[in-house]
């Protein structure tokens, strides 16, 4: 399906630049006159996922596709992976390091919040290899 695509490389541990991709997508959606509430759902989900890569993985890539119907985001990282995706989806479950907590994250709220703010969320993970997160938010209706 045709649309606009964006791609970003993310470095694990780079908290200075964490959120840059989310910020750029927010600017683009504003320019496209997407409704404010929809923009917020997209960028909150994306930012949570972007922070997860910075907090947990070695590196990652974000690919965003925007078309008339939806925004579809894939975040693929190389990292430790998630042992139990089911457990990671529970509010309060976290494996974040103290340095991540000192940045204001790591309370086990990211994945549940991404689920709340998206219309589709899929998390696939292989321990020792990495994690792929897919987020979709409808732009219509």
């Amino acid at each position: 399906m045709s649309g606009i695509t964006f791609s970003y490389k993310i470095d694990g541990g780079d908290f200075v630049n964490a959120g840059k991709a989310s910020s750029e997508i927010k600017r683009t959606l504003k320019q496209l006159n997407v409704a404010q509430k929809t923009i917020k759902r997209v960028v909150v989900s994306l930012y949570e996922a972007e922070v997860n890569i910075v907090a947990h993985a070695h590196r990652g890539e974000i690919n965003v596709l925007i078309n008339a119907e939806e925004i579809s985001i894939t975040l693929k990282d190389e990292g430790p992976g998630i042992e139990s995706v089911e457990q990671a989806m529970e509010v309060g479950y976290s494996t974040a390091s103290p340095s991540v907590v000192s940045m204001g994250f790591g309370a086990g709220m990211g994945l549940p919040n991404m689920k709340k703010n998206s219309d589709y969320l899929n998390v696939e993970s292989k321990v020792g290899v990495g994690t792929t997160v897919t987020i979709k938010v409808a732009l219509v209706g």
């Binding site: 908290f15 964490a18 927010k26 917020k40 909150v44 930012y47 940045m103 204001g104 709220m109």
Partner: protein, 114 residues
């Protein structure tokens, strides 16, 4: 409450001038946990935090919060100031504690967001 009144009330320093329109400030969230701020259904006008890093600005940007107050006299780096400017966020520092800052806002009619 106007931005000028807010700054005066908390003996704050405005660290940048954002590109947003002057607005009346009516609601606040106070947190050092950015994950909590990101779960808010509504958009408060002000975030009060003791967290002086770039992620408090990013969080305000994503959560549509136009004013950030960094309390407790925490040192605010130029990087944080620049990021706030880019994101059209008013950045204010104050030497007051979070408790005192929120107490003053509360007694002047600013509402909680939760």
């Amino acid at each position: 409450m106007t931005a000028e009144k807010l700054i005066d009330l908390i003996s704050g320093n405005l660290l940048n001038v954002a590109n947003t329109n002057t607005q009346i400030l009516a609601s606040v969230v106070a947190s050092d946990l950015m994950s909590d701020v990101l779960t808010l259904e509504n958009e408060p006008d002000i975030l009060v935090t003791g967290l002086a890093n770039t992620q408090c600005i990013r969080t305000a940007e994503m959560a549509d919060i136009p004013f950030v107050i960094i309390a407790k006299g925490k040192k605010v780096s130029q990087q944080i100031i620049d990021l706030a400017h880019e994101g059209d966020i008013y950045l204010i520092s104050t030497h007051l504690s979070i408790f005192k800052c929120c107490g003053l806002l509360y007694t002047h009619g600013i509402k909680d967001t939760f």
